[in-house]
Amino acid sequence: MRLRGLLWFNAVFSIMPVALLAGAVVEGRIELPKSHSAPVQAKRYEIVTHAGVLSTQPPLAVVYLDGAFPKSASLSTKQVAQKDLTFLPALLPIRVGTKVEFPNLDDTYHNIFSYSPVKRFDLGRYRPEERPIPVQVFDKPGLVTLRCDIHEHMRGLILVLSTPYFVMTDMDGRFRLSGLPAGHYTLKAWIDSRTTQEKPVDLNSGQTLHVDFP
């Protein structure tokens, strides 16, 4: 198994220049769960729990190409802000090793912490103008639940992925992943904390593949 993975890795590595030149594209649509609330105008959503399952409201999905990819040298720093006593964005997909800042944009204290096994941290109480902005590096893949010790209703999710190829759908569930390497992969769609769907894909350079879930 490991051997085969290594072989795959070599193969990908050998064709990488080509792939970089003209990457493959996957686009399609995910059948999202029905939204229970009226569609919001602004592109704002929040984390809700329904029967113990965390998801975004209105529903959004994260589509990513599963696989082992080389670590990139430098990753851009992401942000999960606290604004109007919610996390913004409520769901943040990142690549493993990404540094995330937690700026406080409210006029009140926040105390962001996570007891998730993937990443436990506690930023302590901090004011809006606190510098440096509290930051955490997420170096294990998995789902992290963000909470605020002061505002118990606040929930945020960070989906830590080992792949650099991921994208969030729009509200209709449409997505487009471009610049993908050619090869045989598994395309996964994270829908909520309990549901991740997957489909095998064969990617060819310069080709656009259409994949719909489910």
Binding site: T49, G52, Y115, T145, R147
Partner: protein
């Protein structure tokens, strides 16, 4: 002579005794009943007083407790809602549960134990633990932070299942014998599913009623799990009490009750009341022991008072009954005397009546015998005289004498006939063959005869009666009545006098009134008496049987004869005959 009086006195005395006894029984019964009711009421009142006392003390205690429990519950709910505690449980970070809670509950655990009077405000916890999904205790990594408990005590915090609501329990530290701790279990709900995922159990020092009056006041404590904590009682007494409470609780499903116990030879009333009704924790009871010595003394005093009152009532009743019996027996005594006199009188009267009846019978028999004996010789005598008078050639003076004698024999016959008739009436042998008799005709005939009598004085006769007045009777006796009265009217008349005969019929009778002029009958003179002779000298002679006979006969017919009036120169008799029905109407 003395024996009836003695008997009477004895019977009156026995009546008095019986009356007195009956009254005393009633008074005694009422008194005993009253005493019984009063006693019962006193006992019930005493128990109710104790009960109220207990409830009052308990309710003041419970008010404080409720206040604290409400504050605690509020506090615990807030604690249970803490995000870190939720995060530790929900995000599967149990190792972080107690460290997180230590921060959150620090203020609850820190500081000194507050004095009891501030316990309600201070909410100082002794320990706390979390329960897992099955209700078992989650062991803390560092017991010092969360209040140390030995394993046995800690095990008492576990529940069969997680509670939906706040639960109150009582546990005893150090495996029994020590003080009880009050524990409150608060459910922790998942923010994801809303289900109960854990519970926070916090232990506090329980409230204790301050013993204000150690000797007389009530002593209170807690009983749970077969253990009693009542520090003001000696250990040995606690053990026996604990057993009794266990029995009482086991045998009754009541949440509160009371019973009497003896502690160290002192009677006490023990109340118990469930402290945690409906709790998942084992039932715990508030125990109050109330000494009965005071109330028993009070009860005794009251009993004495009631008894004294009862004795007074009995004494009063005794005296009153005695007097009433005397008062009531006095008229009875009089009544007894009277009735005895009456009885004697009646006996005398009866004896007199018997002898009179005998005499009467004897006399009537005698007159009947005498009449019979007389009748034959008189008849012989009369027949002889008539035969002599029938002879020719009697000297006129002899003839005159003989006819005088004959006249006397006629009178004698009349008297004998009257006597015979009367004796038959007296003996009750005379039977009346009742038939309609034309009274008008009878009177007319007799009036005609009256005028024809030789020695009739010159009297004027007035008649005032209709024809055809029929009466019911036997004709010859009716005729005799009329004859006797008319003859009297003529006989006792004066010269140039008058006789008025009137008759009329009323509802049932025919009334014949015969009045005549002449001398007055003095009042008080019993003219109807047999062989009556007028007290006033008179020229007229009679044998004194006519009126008597007339009246006896009239009475025998169902009528009567009476003297209506006797004034100056006017005497009037009235005869009533029963009317003969139907005949008069026809006539």
């Amino acid at each position: 002579m003395s024996s009836p009086v003695q008997a009477r006195n004895e019977s009156v005395a026995s009546f008095r005794t019986r009356l007195f006894t009956a009254m005393m029984i009633i008074v005694a019964t009422l008194t005993v009943l009253g005493l019984y009711l009063a006693q019962r009421k006193v006992t019930a009142d005493a128990e109710r007083n104790l009960q109220e006392n207990f409830q009052a003390e308990l309710s003041s205690l419970h008010k404080l407790e409720e206040l604290r429990d409400a504050a605690l519950a509020d506090r615990c709910d807030k604690l249970a809602a803490k995000p870190r505690i939720h995060a530790a449980i929900e995000d599967n970070a149990i190792d972080l549960l107690y460290p997180s809670a230590t921060d959150e509950l620090r203020d609850l655990m820190e500081g000194e134990e507050p004095p009891p009077e501030q316990a309600a405000q201070s909410l100082h916890a002794k320990f706390y633990r979390f329960l897992d999904g099955q209700g078992a205790v989650i062991r803390p990594p560092n017991p010092y932070d969360v209040g140390g408990l030995d394993t046995k005590t800690e095990a008492q915090l576990a529940l069969n299942k997680l509670p939906d609501t706040q639960q109150i329990g009582y546990i005893q530290e150090n495996g029994g014998g020590g003080t009880f701790d009050e524990v409150i279990a608060v459910p922790i709900f998942s923010t994801y599913t809303g289900d109960v995922i854990s519970a926070l159990v916090i232990g506090f020092k329980p409230f204790e009623v301050k013993e204000k009056h150690t000797d007389v006041g009530m002593k209170s404590g807690v009983w749970a799990n077969g253990q009693l904590h009542l520090p003001s009682l000696p250990k040995s007494a606690q053990a026996s009490l604990s057993e009794k409470i266990a029995n009482a609780v086991a045998s009754s499903d009541r949440e509160q009750d009371n019973f009497r116990v003896n502690v160290d030879g002192v009677p006490r009333l023990l109340f118990y009341k469930r402290l945690n009704p409906g709790s998942l924790f084992p039932p715990a009871y508030e125990i109050c022991v109330y000494p009965l010595a005071d109330s028993i003394v009070q009860l005794h005093r009251l009993r004495w008072q009631i008894g004294g009152a009862g004795a007074l009532i009995l004494l009063g009743g005794f005296v009153a009954s005695h007097f009433v019996a005397l008062r009531l027996s006095a008229p009875v005594k009089k009544l007894a005397l009277d009735s005895e006199e009456n009885r004697a009188q009646r006996k005398r009267a009866e004896a007199a009546l018997a002898s009179t009846a005998q005499e009467l019978e004897r006399s009537s028999r005698y007159s009947a015998d005498a009449s019979h004996q007389l009748k034959s010789p008189v008849t012989v005598f009369r027949l002889g005289l008539e035969a002599l008078l029938a002879r020719e050639g009697l000297k006129p003076e002899v003839y005159e004498q003989l006819s005088g004698l004959l006249h006397q024999t006629h009178r004698l016959t009349g008297v004998i006939d009257d006597l015979l008739l009367l004796s038959r009436v007296d003996a009750g042998h005379l039977q009346i063959a009742s038939a309609p008799v034309d009274l008008s005709q009878l009177i007319d005939e007799w009036l005609d005869d009256l005028g024809a009598l030789p020695d009739s004085p010159d009297v004027k006769i007035e008649k005032e009666f209709p024809g055809g007045l029929f009466v019911a009777g036997e004709k010859r006796y009716t005729s005799l009545i009329v004859q006797n009265l008319l003859e009297n009217a003529r006989k006792y008349n004066r010269l140039d006098g008058r006789i008025r005969v009137s008759a009329h019929r009323n509802a049932k009778d025919v009334v014949l009134t015969i009045g005549n002029t002449g001398r007055t009958i003095p009042p008080g003179e019993n003219i109807f008496e047999r062989f009556h002779h007028s007290s006033t000298p008179s020229a007229v002679s009679g044998h004194g049987m006519g009126l008597n006979l007339a009246r006896e006969l009239a009475r025998l017919h169902g009528g009567d004869v009476r003297l209506v009036r006797s004034e100056i120169d006017w005497t009037e008799f009235e005869v009533r005959f029963p009317a003969a029905d139907g005949v008069n109407a026809v006539a």
